[in-house]
C-alpha cells in the first residue's frame, strides 16, 4: 500500500515542480484547475488492494472499477459507450441488451420489494436506451433459511411488475447458498428489447443549449430504503418510486424528435448522470436547485442526515437531455403520463467549463456538483 502510494505521490510532486518551474501561466488558480483536469483525464487505476463498499456505490470508485477492470478486459465498441444497455444489430433488427443485479436490504420496503425492483430496473435500463422491452431472465441466489412465503411474495411482485410493463420472464436460474453467505435473496435480471426508431440516443450527443429534464421528484427510493433499515429512528410518510418507465418514455419519444439522451437515475442519483453527460459530450451542465423537484419528506431527511438528494437513488425517474427548443413539448409529453406529473426542466447544457456540472443554489450562489467518491457518508455534526 505505502509503496504504491509513494509512487503516485512522487509523480504528482514531480509534476508540480515542472509546472512551478514553467511558471509562465499568469493565473495560479487556473494552473491548479488545469492540473486537476489533467489528473482526471489520466487512465483510471485501482489503488485499493481489495474491493471496498465504495466500489459499489455508483460514484468515482465505481467508475474507476468499471473502466480499469471490466472495460479494460472486455473492451469492444458495443461496451465502450457504457450506456445503460448495449445496442446490437442482429440480422437487420436493432436490439438492446442489459443486465442488473439487485441486492437491496431490506427485501421488503414501503412501495415495493426486491422483486418489482428487479423487473422495473431492467425494464427501465432498456427503455432509456430507446428500446421497447420484451423479454427478461431472472436469476436467484437464495440464502439457506429464507422463508418460502417471502420468496413467493417476491416472485408474485415480479410477475405483477412484468405484466404492468408488458414484458415476460422467459428464462431463469436458481442457486442456494449456505446461511451467512448471502443476505436472504439476490436477484439478477437481464433484458432484451427492440429498437423501433432511428434516433441516435446517447449521452455524448448532448450539446450546448439543450434542456435537462427530470420526470419527477428525486431521491424517494434511496431515502425510503435508508429509513426502512431502521437504523436512523426517523419516520416519514414516504415510499419507493419503483415503477416501469417504458410507457412514459414511449410517449416522450413519439412526441419529441429532439430527445438526445435518457438515463435512469438509479444509484448515484441525478448528480451522477449529469456528470456522465458532461464528460461524455464534453459540455458543461448548469442546473438550478430550486427547479429540482424534491419531496419535503426527502428534503427533511436529507437535511438531517447531511446528504444531498441530488445523489440519492431513484427507481422510476428519468433524466432526459432534450433539444432546448423542444423542452416545453418534452415536459408536456412526460406530464401526460401519471409517472411524469411533476416533470420539470432543471437546467441547461452549456459550452462553459466542459466536463463540469454546476449548481445555481437556491441561496443564489454557485457550486460544483461532482461525482461522489463512495456512499454518501453522514456528517458528524
Amino acid at each position: 500500500m505505502s509503496d504504491r502510494r509513494a509512487s503516485w505521490v512522487d509523480e504528482a510532486l514531480r509534476e508540480h515542480e515542472e509546472h512551478a518551474a514553467a511558471g509562465a501561466v499568469s493565473d495560479r488558480e487556473q494552473q491548479v484547475l488545469d492540473r486537476i483536469d489533467r489528473a482526471r483525464r489520466r487512465r483510471p487505476r485501482i489503488r485499493e488492494e481489495r474491493i471496498t463498499m465504495s466500489h459499489g456505490a455508483g460514484g468515482k470508485a465505481s467508475r474507476t472499477l468499471t473502466e480499469a477492470v471490466f472495460l479494460d478486459a472486455f473492451r469492444n465498441p458495443l461496451l465502450e459507450p457504457l450506456e445503460d444497455a448495449a445496442l446490437l444489430q442482429v440480422n437487420g433488427s436493432r436490439l438492446a441488451l442489459t443486465t442488473d443485479s439487485y441486492v437491496v436490504s431490506p427485501l421488503f420496503f414501503p412501495g415495493g420489494n426486491i422483486g418489482d425492483l428487479a423487473v422495473n430496473g431492467t425494464v427501465n435500463d432498456l427503455s432509456v436506451a430507446g428500446a421497447t422491452p420484451l423479454y427478461l431472465s431472472a436469476g436467484f441466489v437464495l440464502e439457506e433459511g429464507l422463508p418460502v412465503a417471502d420468496l413467493t411474495a417476491i416472485v408474485a411482485s415480479m410477475q405483477a411488475a412484468a405484466a404492468a410493463a408488458g414484458v415476460q420472464v422467459v428464462t431463469g436460474d436458481t442457486k442456494v447458498v449456505e446461511r451467512g453467505k448471502a443476505d436472504g435473496c439476490y436477484i439478477n435480471t437481464a433484458g432484451v428489447g427492440v429498437v423501433e426508431h432511428d434516433l441516435a440516443l446517447g449521452a455524448a450527443t448532448a450539446r450546448p443549449g439543450d434542456a435537462v429534464i427530470v420526470s419527477g421528484p428525486v431521491g424517494d427510493h434511496g431515502v425510503t430504503i435508508m429509513l426502512a433499515r431502521g437504523e436512523l429512528d426517523i419516520e416519514a410518510d414516504l415510499s419507493s418510486d419503483t415503477a416501469p418507465m417504458n410507457g412514459m418514455i414511449a410517449g416522450l419519444l413519439a412526441a419529441v424528435p429532439g430527445v438526445r439522451a435518457m438515463r435512469d437515475a438509479t444509484r448515484g442519483g441525478v448528480a451522477t448522470i449529469l456528470n456522465e453527460v458532461a464528460v461524455a459530450a464534453g459540455v458543461g451542465v448548469m442546473v438550478e436547485e430550486d427547479q429540482i423537484p424534491v419531496r419535503t419528506q426527502v428534503r427533511g431527511a436529507a437535511e438531517l442526515l447531511g446528504i444531498d438528494p441530488m445523489y440519492v437513488a431513484c427507481e422510476g425517474r428519468l433524466v432526459a437531455i432534450v433539444d432546448g427548443q423542444q423542452s416545453d413539448l418534452a415536459v408536456a409529453a412526460l406530464r401526460a403520463d401519471p409517472l411524469g406529473e411533476q416533470a420539470a426542466v432543471i437546467g441547461r447544457v452549456t459550452a462553459d467549463q466542459p466536463g463540469i456540472v454546476l449548481l445555481k443554489t437556491a441561496f443564489g450562489g454557485t457550486r460544483i456538483v461532482d461525482l461522489l467518491v463512495g456512499d454518501p457518508l453522514p456528517r458528524i455534526c
Binding site: V9, A39, E231, A362, R379, I380
Partner: protein
C-alpha cells in the same frame, strides 16, 4: 420547509451582501477565519463566496473533527479493531480517514468488523446484542460530540455493561485557536466562531481572543444567512474599531453554554497533558481522556494500544491549510495525488475538510454571480 428556507433567502442575502460591501474600507483586504468545518461546508454548499466582495477572504480553520486526527491514532484504532472478537464503531466521516496502512474502509475490506453508527448510544445497542464481543467506540470530535460520548459512558456504567469501551480522541477547540493565533505566519482580522461547540461551552471562552489578541469573534449558526450575518457583524466591529465576542446564533447558543453537558464531560473525562494534532503538532491540554474512575470503559487502559507516532506524509501540507496559511489549491498535491478518492491528508476526507469542500464544490472559475450595487459617496 420551516426552519430551513427562511435562513436561505437569496433576497435577504443580497441585501446583507450590499451592506457588507459598504463596510469595506477602500484598498483594505480582510481575512476572516471560520473555525468550524460545518461552516466551511455551508459556505461551499451554498456558494456563499459569490456574495462576498473581493476584499474579503474566508480562511478555513481547524474545526473539522476528522481533519485533525493524526495518522498514528488511526493506526492505533485499526490495531484495536483488528483484535479477535472485537467490533469497532465509528462515525461515518471517520471511515475514509487514511492511516499509514489504509483507512477503516480498507480495514473493513480486510475482514475487520468496523461498523458505522449515527450516535455513540448505538454502540451500546451493538454491545448488548453481542455479549461475546468487545465493542470499542472510536470517539472523535470537538465539544459538540464530547457530551454524547460522556453520556454513553455513564449509561454503560449504569447498565453495568462489561464489553463496551471508548477509544477517546476528543479534542478541545480553544487550544487550537490559541495555537493559530500564536503562529507567526498568520494574518487574520477576525473569527467566525463555531456554533455547535458553543452550544456546549458558551461564548465566554472566546473572550481572550477579543481582549488579548484584539480580534473580533462572532459565534455563528450554520445556515448561509447566519454566516453572512456574522460576516456583517465582524465587518461592523472592524469598521468601528471594536473587538468583542458577539453571538449571532442566539437561537441555539446560550452565553454560558450548556451546564448539564459540561457537567457530564467533567464527570467522565479530564484533560490530557498533551495531544497530537494533524498538521499542528503536539498541543498541551488540547484533548480529553477518561478519568480513572472510568478505566473499565477506557480502551487505552483496557487494551494494549501501540501508540504509534507517524509523521505526516512529506508531501502533505494539511498543517498550513489548517492554519489558513495556504489556500487548499496552493498545496503541492491538491487535486493530483491527493483527491477525495485517494486522500493523503485528512483535509481531503470529510466534506467539512477545507480541501474536500474546495475540491468538491469550489474548484471553478468563480464569477461573482450576484452583482452587488454599492452606493458610496
Amino acid at each position: 420547509m420551516r426552519f430551513v428556507d427562511e435562513f436561505r433567502s437569496a433576497e435577504k442575502a443580497r441585501a446583507l451582501a450590499a451592506r457588507i460591501t459598504e463596510l469595506c474600507e477602500p484598498g483594505r483586504q480582510y481575512k476572516l477565519m471560520e473555525v468550524c468545518g460545518g461552516h466551511t461546508h455551508t459556505i461551499y454548499k451554498h456558494g456563499l463566496e459569490d456574495y462576498l466582495p473581493e476584499a474579503i477572504t474566508l480562511v478555513h480553520g481547524p474545526g473539522c473533527p476528522v481533519c485533525v486526527i493524526p495518522m498514528g491514532r488511526v493506526d492505533d484504532a485499526i490495531h484495536l479493531a483488528s483484535q479477535p472478537d472485537t467490533i469497532m464503531t465509528s462515525f461515518g466521516d471517520m471511515m475514509r480517514v487514511p492511516g499509514s496502512h489504509g483507512s477503516f474502509f480498507d480495514a473493513k475490506a480486510n475482514g475487520t468488523d468496523i461498523r458505522m453508527v449515527y450516535s455513540p448510544l448505538d454502540s451500546l445497542k451493538i454491545a448488548r446484542q453481542n455479549p461475546g464481543k468487545r465493542v470499542v467506540f472510536m470517539a472523535i470530535g470537538f465539544e459538540t460530540t464530547t457530551p454524547s460520548t460522556a453520556m454513553t459512558v455513564l449509561r454503560a456504567k449504569a447498565e453495568g455493561l462489561e464489553n463496551f469501551s471508548v477509544f477517546c480522541n476528543h479534542v478541545t477547540i480553544i487550544p487550537a485557536i490559541k495555537a493559530i493565533l500564536d503562529s507567526p505566519d498568520l494574518r487574520l482580522d477576525g473569527f467566525i466562531g463555531p456554533g455547535h461547540v458553543s452550544t456546549v461551552i458558551g461564548c465566554r471562552p472566546y473572550e481572550f481572543i477579543a481582549a488579548g489578541y484584539g480580534k473580533p469573534v462572532v459565534v455563528a449558526g450554520f445556515e448561509p444567512l447566519d454566516i453572512l450575518q456574522s460576516i456583517y457583524m465582524l465587518m461592523r466591529q472592524l469598521s468601528e474599531g471594536r473587538s468583542e465576542v458577539e453571538n449571532q446564533y442566539t437561537r441555539v447558543v446560550p452565553w454560558d453554554g450548556n451546564l448539564a453537558a459540561l457537567t457530564a464531560i467533567n464527570q467522565v473525562m479530564e484533560l490530557r497533558p498533551y495531544f497530537e494534532w494533524r498538521g499542528l503538532g503536539f498541543i498541551t491540554h488540547s484533548a480529553m481522556r477518561l478519568r480513572d474512575g472510568f478505566r473499565a470503559f477506557d480502551a487505552e487502559a483496557l487494551f494494549e494500544v501501540p501508540g504509534v507516532r507517524v509523521a505526516d506524509p512529506k508531501a502533505c501540507q494539511c498543517g498550513e491549510v489548517l492554519k489558513g496559511v495556504l489556500k487548499p489549491w496552493e498545496c503541492k498535491v491538491f487535486g493530483t495525488a491527493c483527491t477525495p478518492e485517494t486522500p493523503i491528508g485528512t483535509c481531503m476526507v470529510s466534506p467539512e475538510g477545507a480541501c474536500a469542500a474546495y475540491y468538491n464544490y469550489g474548484r471553478m472559475n468563480r464569477h461573482r454571480v450576484v452583482e452587488v450595487e454599492v452606493s458610496r459617496p
